[in-house]
């Protein structure tokens, strides 16, 4: 798939050798060495916590390494701060876009080095002209004076890339750039990256999506536990090899789908409309796992939030066990027997400063207290029970969850909802930021829950996951239900078709492909 013009050459633009970095209690990078060649697309992969982000932040001047040497363009350099890196020509495009929503496109691109006239006045004409030039080179359909907050996510990403063009960067680092993009937007991004390559710009591409890595990259460096576990040439490698290097063993993760033993209808959603979500109707049975598949921003999360009483319904009804009920708050939802494992674990799922048992008790305070007084014995027993059942590893019930791994944190969130003995459990991206081992455990748990009669809704943007665990998949695009796929017809192609068919329907023009 690589473009012929992006053939790697042997001129090394940057070499890092012996890079080490420790944080209190963690050795994030241990003697890492790698090289970047001029004009290549270099993929960097590894599991969460393997050290990818730390390495990139060192190259971008955000962190300082404890040891090691970085040679750039043939000389040793000290990347003491982001500005130094930027001036050398290294630009990091963050996962969370690094833009100021209230400023214009031009001001964002040149933030930190705005051109000046006399009396400290910003040179508006030059600012606009320079920006226009960069935007034109990328084929952008918006102007220098547009306010960034009015642009779509994909266009905002183009603003960041325009920075690289404007500063004539020689290395651009992308950190999981397609997380919030539709397929078309991602394709457009790849064209942009190829265009950068043709003009000699080196791209570092961080992702865990194999398909993208093999579509766009020339070479691959794999990190595991802070060390380089392999350097590959993309055309001579394959997905299995990369996965093996990432996790250190053969990937043996097959999904155990719950045996289907569908019971009575539990929840029926009719004409649900709320914010970006329009006219959604579906149902869920006891013992059934329904997958909600859609891209980030398609409205999946909003559907879950509407059912759970977090966002108000503009119209539509929810029937629970055959009766129409109004759910106005999470309290109402919990009282009916609904639990929600939210998308954003750290901000919505946990109180990070409190211990595991405190978090577990949060929706179960009635259960662990007598006359409003917490019975610490009951609280401890409850935690111990779930600690064993979900094999959560902590130093003790009061260890702040802040210090636990992503997998253990997620297990605590799931445990907290299992403890309310729900009839319906909604899991929104249940394995995001969770390592491979815990991921398999969570999938197994979901299957077990369904077999015990629980109704489950799983929301995910990972196709293998949604295909692997669901009994039935509903596809969402642009806030509307676009399809329902039965288990016998599951395939990645069908899912892609279902979620991309409507993507372009009502939106303003997208960035034009060149």
């Amino acid at each position: 798939m690589t473009n012929s013009a992006t053939q790697p050459t042997d001129d090394v633009i940057l070499s890092a050798s012996g890079i080490s970095k420790s944080f209190p209690g963690v050795r994030a990078l241990d003697d890492v060495s790698f090289t970047l060649r001029k004009g290549e697309v270099h993929a960097l992969c590894g599991e969460n916590g393997a050290g990818k982000s730390t390495l990139m932040k060192i190259l971008a001047g955000v962190y300082q390494p404890d040891g090691g040497v970085i040679r750039y363009d043939g000389r040793d350099v000290a990347l003491t701060d982001p500005l130094a890196a930027k001036q050398l020509g290294i630009l990091l495009i963050h996962q969370e876009l690094s833009l100021v929503p209230e400023l214009s496109v031009a001001e964002n691109i040149f933030l930190g080095s705005l051109p000046l006239k006399r009396f400290g006045r910003v040179d508006g004409a030059r600012l606009r002209a320079d920006t226009r030039q960069a935007l034109d080179r990328l084929g952008c359909d918006f102007g220098p004076d547009d306010i960034v907050s009015t642009l779509s996510i994909a266009r905002q990403q183009l603003v960041e890339i325009a920075r690289a063009v404007a500063f004539q960067s020689s290395i651009v680092i992308f950190d999981e750039p397609t997380a919030s993009l539709t397929q078309q937007e991602a394709d457009h991004l790849f064209q942009t990256i190829r265009r950068l390559s043709e003009s000699g710009v080196t791209t570092v591409y961080i992702s865990h999506k194999m398909r993208e890595i093999f579509e766009i990259s020339d070479r691959i460096t794999v990190l595991r536990d802070g060390k380089v576990s392999g350097g590959l040439t993309t055309r001579q490698s394959n997905e299995d090899e990369v996965t093996r290097l990432m996790i250190g063993r053969d990937l043996d993760h097959y999904f155990i789908r719950a045996e289907r033993q569908e019971g009575a209808e539990l929840l029926r959603v009719e004409g649900l409309t709320s914010g970006p979500v329009r006219d959604i109707s579906f149902n869920v049975h006891r013992g059934e796992i329904v997958g909600l598949y859609g891209l980030v921003g398609s409205g999946r999360t909003e559907i879950a939030e509407a059912i759970f009483g977090i966002r108000p319904l503009e119209s539509g009804t929810l029937s629970w066990e055959g009766e129409v009920r109004s759910i106005r708050s999470p309290r109402d939802a919990i009282a009916l027997g609904i639990g929600l494992v939210p998308e954003d674990r750290k901000h919505q799922g946990l109180v990070l400063g409190l211990g595991g048992s405190d978090n577990l008790a949060l929706p179960n305070l009635g259960r662990v207290s007598r006359l409003g007084v917490i019975a610490s014995g009951l609280e401890g027993l409850l935690f111990e029970d779930y600690r064993k059942r979900l094999s959560i590893s902590t130093a003790g019930p009061k260890q702040p969850v802040l210090t636990l791994s992503g997998g253990n944190q997620q297990k605590i969130v799931i445990a907290k909802w299992l403890a309310v003995a729900p009839k319906l459990l909604i899991l929104d991206e249940p394995t995001r930021g969770v390592d491979v081992g815990a991921k398999a455990e969570i999938h197994g748990l979901i299957a077990k829950l369904a077999e015990s009669g629980l109704a489950v809704i799983v929301i995910s943007s990972e196709m293998p996951e949604i295909i692997g665990v669901s009994h039935r998949i509903l596809t969402i695009a642009d806030g509307r239900l676009t399809g329902e796929i039965a288990e016998s017809e599951f395939s990645e192609d069908r899912l892609i078709a279902a979620v991309t068919g409507h993507v372009w329907a009502d939106e303003t023009p997208r960035p034009q492909a060149a």
Partner: protein, 322 residues
């Protein structure tokens, strides 16, 4: 594993009290400079004086743990004291006491609605209430100070001047309320909700907690403790001035911060606040005994709050990195 947890906990407790350690040293120095400081009669007196700040600090602890702050308590203290003394002579002590608690409750509810339900910025909203209540005090009293006509003949004197088994009643009220509110904060499901809301409001709402109500309730507690403090000060002085409570909010905040309660919400303790109140009281009394003017206490409060919060911020930063 269990040992780890216990050790971790005691280390945490040590860190929290670490805020207070330098002040214990300063206190030692002050005690050598003013030897009368630690005489038994003086100790009793300092504790009695500290009970007013102390009672208000109990309520402030709830507000701070819920992630908010209440700056209106100083003016509220002035207003409630004024109303109490006025009603005491016009209607009678019983009504005055009930009215005081009622006004504290009412102002607490107003603060709670503004910050909890209308979600206004707590600092600025209660700063506004500080000004508003100061104005209300002036309007109520028409700018005059009031005194009780016959202070020797009312049971109201018992609250601020009485003794039980040789212990001053204000101290008993302070410690009794500390025990009660400590139980409420640390042992009940309500208290756990306050910690949860202060620690992470979104998670709390997602877990079915009524965050606005819980935030509002902490202001009601703060209003009630301020009313109790007003009863103590009114009974003690047997009078009310329009500026009775000016600056109290700072002393209270300094004491609570000294006791290790975080301004960021989600952590703190009643025991810490009691310790903070006592250390601050001895420090201030010592400075007074050394002949230093009262406004020096303001500078002391400044330094204490900054150092306490600095320590807190530094320890939080360390934890986030791990």
């Amino acid at each position: 594993m269990f040992q780890d947890a216990v050790l971790g906990k005691s280390r945490l407790a040590f860190q929290r009290l670490g805020v207070a350690l330098p002040f214990l040293v300063i206190l030692g120095l002050v005690a050598t400079a003013a030897p009368t400081l630690l005489e038994p009669s003086n100790i009793g007196q300092v504790l009695r004086q500290s009970s007013i700040v102390g009672v208000m600090a109990l309520g402030m602890t709830f507000v701070l743990i819920s992630g908010r702050v209440d700056l209106s308590i100083g003016s509220m203290l002035s207003l409630i004291t004024m109303i109490t003394i006025d009603l005491h002579d016009r209607v009678g002590p019983g009504v005055a006491v009930i009215a005081a608690l009622g006004v504290g409750l009412g102002i607490g509810i107003v603060n709670g609605i503004l910050v909890g339900f209308l979600r206004l910025n707590a600092l600025i909203a209660t700063l506004a209430m500080l000004s508003l209540l100061q104005g209300a005090t002036m309007i109520y009293s028409n700018g005059r100070d009031l005194t009780v006509a016959a202070p020797g003949e009312t049971w109201f004197a018992f609250i601020g001047r009485g003794q039980v088994y040789g212990i001053a009643v204000p101290i008993l009220i302070f410690l009794g309320l500390a025990a009660l509110l400590g139980f409420l904060l640390h042992k009940t499901s309500y208290g756990r909700r306050v910690f949860a809301v202060g620690g992470n409001e979104t998670t709390s709402a997602f877990s079915g907690l009524r965050a606005p109500l819980i935030v509002a309730s902490t202001y009601v507690i703060s209003g009630l403790t301020t009313a109790v403090a007003a009863l103590i000060i009114g009974s003690r002085v047997m009078g009310a001035q329009t500026n009775t409570g000016v600056g109290y909010e700072f002393e209270v905040i300094a004491a609570v911060a000294l006791g290790g309660t975080s301004f960021l919400g989600g952590s703190g303790s009643i025991a810490g606040s009691v310790i903070g109140v006592v250390i601050l009281a001895f420090l201030q009394n010592g400075l007074l005994q050394m002949g230093l003017p009262y406004y020096l206490q303001w500078i002391v409060s400044w330094v204490i709050i900054i150092l306490a919060v600095w320590t807190d911020a530094a320890s939080k930063r360390k934890k986030v990195l791990v």
